[in-house]
């Protein structure tokens, strides 16, 4: 029954295009010029030591060579008049015009090279040396090392203070990103700007990215004002450069496998435990010993759905080039990935991307250009959501007694003969999860830059995005159990179009007088969002052809819904002045004024100021004699940012008709009433952050960056809890949104780097670590309650927001072992001398009377875990030697917990993990043939029951369900060889072949599927994000795949 579908047409189309392009490119590459041979030695200017592996390139091209162990090189050029660029890590590059020399010796000066790099800041760029805020930059070469189809995954472990956790390990799933801790109970994902346009990281191919700049502190981000409270990620896609066209082809193919399965009971163990559960509550056993003795392993459901060697592949073809007038960068990419759990090809992610960036110098004073990316994504996934829609959960807890297939059943799938409520999860996968989502995204901008007078530039940028989402879903009729079935086939077809545009106009003036350097920028920005959507749902019998809404034999239950409108709009002014004196003292002041349609007249406008300063202390006279210190800059910054409500019209008293019908006679009448109590005073969530840090370079090869921050985020936009008596707490009428609450994030970040050449061997080691403490200091209405029924039907609330604790902390009972005997229960007394758990039986869990009032109730629940890590860290090593390269990326986190619930605890028949074998249990028979005590059988795992024990061992939420989630993960290892080192004269600049492993090793004590659990928040029926602060909940979390792949990087 296991089917692997053929590659679909996308694959052929894209691969065909890539191959044809490659062919033309290769065949057109010819050489016809007179060769000149140049040779020389590259040395350290001061010590005179030869520099091995220094690069010698013809300017504007990738044509060139590298120096040998003795620092010498030879290079053939085809024309004099070119400029050679000599560069070496840690040294100031040097350019030399070739006229008639044949020997060029160069002495390079050591500098804190990376401080000269340009980083992207809001509405501009800045030399890293002059940055006074806390920002991090990740470059393309580091991104692609992780060989991930997803940019989010590529970024993991590279930036201190940025937590990136997958919502699920299934291909196509999204990631949660937070920077420097959660700043409110609302969405904490940072603002992502792709070439200045708000976008989604999941539309991007890592190979297309030039740099990712993360603005972490408030001062850096404040130029984006109302959208910047969660930090800002600035994506710059690859741009063209003047010079020879450069063609890049990157591809890999790999296979993925599960790195771990959960150990579940086999058939024999399962039957034994079920019997014990029954006899433990005084019932007869379900199965005879004879029946159990004849059982084997039973069905291993995870194995049944396991997609061994799931293929993953990626192709990327990029061309960059240009002249002094025009430059361009275009690319075509294709990714295709199958899930490591798959059935009937229902877990697959495909992405096609096309990018065109170009820039043209129309006049000496006028530049125009555009960036444009089109992405097509197709996501077909198995349900990885809540307890009702999670295939892994179903697999894990399914009974091993059920046969996967049974030819005697009408549909060929086995059914449970033990309990007719039990679901065959493979049959469920067959009938469900037919939803296919297709996304088309176009994002880009077109801009013009006018130099009015030297130093004064006006830039006008029109950016936008257009997204189409299409979802189709057909569910046939089926019966899995008497209670789980679909009586009438359902077909759904939804379509949504979102259009966004922004216009940015900025005026920049840069001037130098003496040692004073001033850069001033002023600008305005408008943004506009619109949407259109239709949703169709029809019940009826599907015809044999591909179902669409009209191919269904309908019964009269069609539902057609639609809406369109202007989502929101913003209008802003902003300005920034940066000043530095000799690049030694520097300061930046910025201010943004935002007006947003998401607020009422009273608070529509917000101001977001920031100030920062830096002092390059190493440039001072008194440190000149400190030789080991190459560079040191101390930074301090302060700024304020805002966060808007996640939905428009939160401040208005809208009236609505949703769910308000009533039937008079035979007809239904639509009702209308207020949706929400208005709050015209609703205002921004305000986040104020102070940052102090330094950047240093020392002992020539080391660099160290440190930041300390304190982020105070208040005035969260939350629904107030108003008394039900006011009527507005009724159904379909939402409580008014109010501002309230405060959370303080305090943390430190370190980044340590070491880079050095030992002859041909280049070593680049980087480590980063961040610590964050999240503490809520104020909550409107004392507590923001988490949802119930998250772990299973009727499960208690177990995460919440409360003063004195981290956002979303785990709230439950502390337990203290297992009651071994009735005497222990009887003697577990409070002040009134009554047993505090008198309804417990031996083998039940003992709960701690935390508040000491002699009664064990919800008042004894307290913090028993925190989903927010205390520490996150990354460790990256890169080595290269004569064409060989090696890199390794390690990431990890510590100090956070996971709540795990794989069973539907309200029912007794779900399968258990094998750790249940260590449960407390009655020892059957002693040597005298007498039923013996169970004392001492376990003090950690309670007895099994039919979920009906009055003590509710699992259902009263406690630390039994909480597990440490610390982990260290070898995220990627790459070993490659560049054949250019071997074939110096080959017609390519690079021909690297590599092998790679991702998620090779995870060291953790967590015995669930994967310790990196981003699941927690969820989308409600109306598509609104709920409990955005919740995470670390494992109810069957799709694990990350372990992937081995082989790849090639070719550059012509």
């Amino acid at each position: 029954m296991k089917i692997r579908l053929k590659q679909n047409w996308h694959y052929y189309l894209i691969m065909h295009s890539i191959m044809v392009l490659l062919f033309f490119i290769l065949s057109s590459h010819n050489v016809n010029a007179q060769e000149i041979t140049i040779s020389g030695t590259v040395t350290d200017k001061v010590s005179g030591e030869p520099l091995a592996g220094a690069s010698v390139l013809i300017k504007g091209t990738m044509i060139g060579t590298a120096t040998n162990a003795d620092g010498t090189y030879t290079l053939n050029i085809y024309d004099s008049g070119v400029t050679l660029v000599f560069s070496y890590i840690g040294y100031q590059p040097q350019e030399i015009l070739v006229t008639d020399q044949t020997v060029i010796d160069v002495g390079l000066a050591f500098i804190a090279e990376d401080m000269e790099e340009i980083v992207v800041v809001g509405y501009g760029v800045q030399k890293k040396k002059l940055v006074t805020g806390a920002t991090s930059q990740v470059r393309n070469e580091d991104l692609v090392k992780n060989n991930a189809n997803r940019l989010e995954s590529s970024l993991q472990g590279l930036t201190p203070g940025m937590i990136i956790v997958k919502q699920s390990g299934q291909p196509g799933s999204d990631y949660n990103i937070s920077i420097r801790g959660l700043s409110s109970p609302n969405d904490n994902n940072p603002l992502v700007l792709i070439d200045g346009v708000p976008g989604n990281l999941n539309t991007l191919n890592p190979s297309d990215i030039e740099t990712v700049d993360v603005l972490k502190d408030a001062a850096s981000a404040a130029i984006y004002g109302s959208r910047a409270a969660n930090g800002v990620i600035l994506i710059t896609t690859k741009k063209g450069k003047a010079g020879e066209p450069q063609i890049t082809y990157d591809a890999y193919y790999g296979i993925s496998n599960a790195s771990k399965k959960v150990d579940m009971l086999n058939a024999k163990e399962y039957a034994m435990i079920m019997n014990e559960a029954s006899t433990n509550v005084g019932n007869d056993p379900f199965f005879t010993q004879d029946y159990i003795d004849n059982l084997g392993e039973g069905t291993d459901w995870q194995e049944e759905a396991y997609n061994k060697n799931a293929p993953v592949q990626s192709h990327y073809l990029g061309i960059t080039g240009g002249t002094e007038i025009s430059t361009y960068s275009i690319s075509l990419s294709y990714n295709n990935e199958e899930g490591i759990f798959n059935y009937e090809d229902k877990s697959r992610y495909e992405r096609i991307g096309v990018r065109i960036n170009s820039e043209h110098k129309i006049k000496e004073y006028l530049k125009v250009g555009e960036n444009l990316t089109y992405t097509n994504r197709r996501v077909h996934g198995l349900g990885v959501g809540n307890q009702y829609n999670n295939f892994l959960r179903s697999l894990i807890e399914a009974s091993p007694l059920i046969d996967v297939y049974d030819p005697d059943v009408y549909d060929g799938f086995g059914r449970s003969s033990f309990n007719d409520q039990q679901i065959n999860p493979i049959a469920s996968m067959h009938y469900n999860f037919n939803e296919v989502k297709k996304y088309d995204d176009i994002i880009g901008d077109i801009y013009a830059e006018l130099e009015i007078v030297p130093g004064l530039r006006l830039r006008s940028d029109f950016g936008g995005s257009l997204s189409f989402n299409h979802i189709s879903n057909a569910t046939d009729s089926f019966i899995l159990t008497p209670a789980t079935y679909n009586a009438i086939p359902i077909y759904e077809q939804d379509m949504e179009r979102k259009f966004y545009y922004n216009i940015d106009n900025t005026l920049t003036y840069e001037t130098i007088f003496g040692d004073h350097n001033i850069l001033a920028m002023a600008g305005m920005n408008i943004q506009d969002n619109r949407f259109f959507k239709v949703e169709g749902r029809i019940e009826g019998y599907l015809s044999n052809i591909e179902p669409v809404l009209t191919n269904v034999t309908t019964i009269d239950t069609a539902i057609l819904k639609g809406d369109y409108g202007k989502g929101d709009s913003r209008f802003s002014y902003f300005g920034r002045i940066s000043y530095n004196y000799k690049e030694k003292y520097m300061t930046t002041i910025s201010l943004r004024r935002d007006a947003s349609s998401r607020f009422g007249q009273n608070n529509r406008v917000g101001y977001f100021p920031a100030v920062s300063a830096g002092w390059a202390i190493s440039e001072e006279k008194f440190l000149e004699s400190v030789n080991w210190l190459n560079y040191m800059k101390i930074r301090a910054s302060w700024g304020q940012n805002g966060k808007e409500p996640s939905q428009p019209y939160r401040f208005l008293a809208t009236v609505g008709s949703l769910d308000r019908i009533y039937s008079f006679g035979s007809g239904r009448q639509v009702g209308i009433s207020p949706d929400i109590l208005p709050n015209q005073n609703l205002k921004w969530e305000a986040s104020t952050q102070t940052n102090i840090g330094f950047d240093s370079r020392f002992l020539n090869n080391f660099r160290f960056t440190f930041d300390w921050y304190r982020k105070n985020s208040k005035d969260w936009i939350v629904p107030s809890t108003v008394p039900g008596i006011s009527g507005i707490a009724g159904i379909s009428t939402t409580n008014p949104y109010i501002n309230g609450g405060n959370v303080i994030n305090t943390g430190v970040e370190f980044e340590l780097g070491y880079i050095k050449n030992f002859g041909d061997l280049m070593i680049d080691i980087r480590a980063n670590m961040a610590h964050n403490k999240n503490e809520v200091t104020e909550v409107p209405g004392e507590v923001i309650n988490g949802s119930e029924s998250v772990l299973y039907n009727g499960s208690e609330e177990f995460y919440r927001v409360e003063e004195g604790y981290p956002l979303g902390y785990f709230w439950g009972f502390i337990t203290n072992g297992i009651f071994q005997t009735q005497e222990e229960i009887d003697s577990y007394i409070g002040l009134n001398n009554r047993s505090m758990q008198r309804t417990a039986d031996p083998g039940d869990v003992r709960r701690v009377d935390f508040n000491g009032d002699s009664v064990i109730n919800n008042d004894d629940k307290t913090m028993i875990g925190d989903p927010n890590p205390d520490f996150i860290y990354g460790f990256n090593v890169a080595l290269s030697w004569r064409g060989f390269d090696f890199s390794m990326n390690i990431q990890g986190q510590a100090g956070n917990q996971i709540v795990r619930a794989y069973r539907m605890e309200e029912r007794f028949y779900g399968n258990y993990m094998t750790d249940i074998l260590d449960r407390w249990h009655w020892i059957d028979v002693n040597e005298n043939g007498i039923i013996d005590e169970g004392e001492g059988t376990s003090n950690t795992m309670p007895r099994v029951t039919l979920s009906s024990e009055s003590n509710q061992n699992w259902r009263k939420f406690g630390d039994l369900s909480v597990h440490d989630a610390d982990f260290l993960r070898v995220k990627s290892i790459n070993i490659g060889y560049d054949f250019k080192s071997l074939l110096r004269n080959a017609p390519f600049q690079r021909f690297r072949i590599y092998i790679s492993a991702t998620n090779l090793l995870t060291i953790t004590k967590y015995d669930g599927l994967d310790p990196e659990v981003g699941y927690g928040s969820y989308y409600d029926d109306e598509g609104l994000l709920q409990d955005a602060y919740a995470s670390g909940i494992d109810i069957g979390f799709h694990p990350a795949a372990r992937t081995y792949l082989i790849g090639v990087n070719v550059t012509f």
């Binding site: 408008i526 039937s663 639509v670 039900g724 008596i725």
Partner: protein
């Protein structure tokens, strides 16, 4: 020059945009300030008030009435945490949000009624003055209904004749003032509501609060007030006033009994009248006997009556009985209270034993299905139907509770009239009314009364209206303020012959101790979470501190 032209163009572009750009109101939805304009808007607005009738959930009045009374017990699953059994035993219920739905939704209904009444004056009613009065009458009827359902559960609750803001919470309203507001609203509806008789009522008005519904509700409210608070003078409104309203229904409304008792509900129609395949005998949701009902809806509608999905056999479909949660099982004492020739017995109660469904536990295995408090009897009147291997309506039995909930039917009117006439000394009229009910129940006059007592009328109400959400409130009003009477009425011990079911899972005893209800005066606790939000303005009912 070119530079300057470009610059000017850009500057003009910048300046042409102003902050009005951020003035953005919804285009596809309205806001309160501009919605109430035409009578069509009024129709939609009044509909939203009716909609609040559909939100009774888990802890709704009907479930309370049956479980807490001597009709039924809690039941449900062995692992369900005992909420229902706590109601049965008059115990403190688990959790701070217990009764949240009842409290919130009934006050939500009051809010929507008040929103309507406060905004309807914005509407241009020219030429539609009669409709305006009718809608006012309906809004006030519903406001009275919600107040009445709240006060029966929670006692003296704040009466609201206007919308309030969250920081302006009033304290409790004394009973007489509260019931006066309720009565004023109902009298307004009795005078201005739709007054066509049953046969003349336009089909599109079915479900609306009519003059007749208001008059019947006046009787129910008055009789509850005078009984529970032992005060026959409700701010000048008397027994005689009430009797004239109830007589008006009997004489003028056109409502009457339907011939067959069992035909009032779907499943009893199947089991008692129609066999497995025919439902021709079903009187339908709209019939002569229904004075007023809450109109639930089949498929496509998220609302359904939770009582229906609660009462069916747990995890099992046995034609014509559709699956439910096995909650609210009937006590053997109720089954035994019926005469064997009373057609109401088998129409009201499913007896597993008597219907031959016990012999083979293959049919209904309450042990395997984790049925708590299995008594051998389920309530049948509102059970979900499962016929010809199929459920009715939606594919989801949890949402199949589309059958209308009859709030007041004509039999209740007759019995209230009998009671009112009996108290006012007119036993002859009272006998006529009660015997009319009994004649239908027994099919002939062989069981008619020749003389009656008040107890007989209450006993008849118990049998006729069992499992319809009436009984517990009848018990409370019968106390006349002396709640020690609850000790006898609500105390019962398990007298089931459970020999056949001895291997059941956690067969919790059916025993209940009525003395738990006395200090509480039969009331239920206001949700603790709501008391906290009201910041001490209102204190918890006595007995729940």
């Amino acid at each position: 020059m070119k530079k300057i032209i470009l610059l000017v163009i850009i500057i003009l572009l910048v300046l042409s945009c102003t902050e009005d750009f951020t003035e953005r109101l919804p285009t596809t939805s309205s806001i309160v300030e501009n919605f109430y304009r035409t009578p069509a808007d009024a129709t939609q607005a009044i509909t939203s008030v009716y909609n609040m009738l559909l939100h009774d959930d888990w802890w709704c009045s009907m479930i309370y009435s049956e479980i807490a009374s001597d009709n039924c017990t809690g039941g449900a699953g062995t692992g369900d945490g005992g909420g229902f059994t706590s109601i049965d035993r008059g115990m403190q219920l688990p959790g701070p949000s217990v009764n949240q739905e009842a409290w919130t939704f009934y006050y939500g209904g009051i809010y929507r009624a008040n929103v309507y009444l406060e905004n309807e004056e914005l509407i241009d009613w020219t030429g539609n003055e009669a409709l305006r009065l009718q809608y006012q009458a309906e809004a006030r009827f519903l406001r009275a209904y919600f107040h009445f359902y709240l006060t029966r559960m929670f006692g003296e609750i704040p009466a609201l004749d206007h919308t309030i803001t969250p920081d302006d919470i009033p304290g409790r309203t004394p009973a007489e003032e509260l019931f006066t507001l309720i009565m004023d609203d109902l009298i307004f509806c009795a005078e201005n509501g739709l007054s066509a008789s049953y046969d003349a009522m336009k089909p599109e008005n079915w479900g609306r609060a009519t003059k007749w519904a208001a008059e019947a509700m006046i009787a129910r409210v008055y009789m509850y007030y005078s009984g529970y608070y032992n005060d026959t003078d409700l701010n000048g409104f008397t027994l005689q006033d009430t009797r004239s309203y109830i007589d008006d229904i009997i004489i003028n409304s056109g409502h009457d009994l339907v011939p067959e008792f069992a035909s009032l509900w779907r499943v009893p129609t199947y089991s008692e009248l129609g066999g497995d395949t025919s439902i021709d005998a079903y009187a339908g949701e709209v019939n002569r006997e229904v004075i007023w009902s809450v109109r639930y809806n089949p498929s496509g509608n998220p609302y359904n009556f939770p009582f229906l999905r609660m009462i069916g056999p747990r995890n099992t479909n046995i034609e014509p009985y559709g699956q439910g949660w096995g909650a609210i099982p009937v006590l053997p004492s109720l089954w035994n209270a019926y005469d064997t020739s009373d057609t109401r017995r088998t129409a009201t109660i499913l007896s597993w034993d008597d219907e031959g469904l016990v012999d083979t536990l293959l049919v209904y295995n309450h042990v395997a299905n984790q049925q708590a408090q299995y008594s051998g009897y389920n309530t049948k009147k509102y059970m979900l139907a499962y016929v010809n291997g199929q459920r009715e309506a939606t594919p989801d039995w949890q949402r199949d509770g589309f059958e209308d909930y009859i709030i007041i039917r004509f039999a209740d009117v007759l019995l209230m009239a009998a009671e009112l006439h009996f108290i006012t000394g007119d036993e002859g009229t009272a006998l006529g009314h009660i015997n009319k009910v009994r004649e239908r129940a027994f099919g002939d006059d062989s069981h008619n009364y020749n003389s009656i007592s008040l107890d007989d009328i209450f006993a008849e109400r118990k049998l006729e209206l069992a499992c319809e959400g009436i009984r517990y409130w009848d018990i409370l009003r019968s106390c006349k303020g002396d709640f020690t009477k609850l000790v006898d009425i609500l105390t019962y011990i398990d007298d089931t012959d459970d020999g056949d079911y001895s291997n059941s899972v956690n067969l919790q005893s059916l025993d209940a101790d009525g003395s738990n209800f006395v200090a509480k005066k039969g009331l239920f606790p206001i949700p603790e979470s709501e008391l906290e939000l009201m910041e001490g303005v209102i204190e918890q009912n006595s007995g729940y501190e």
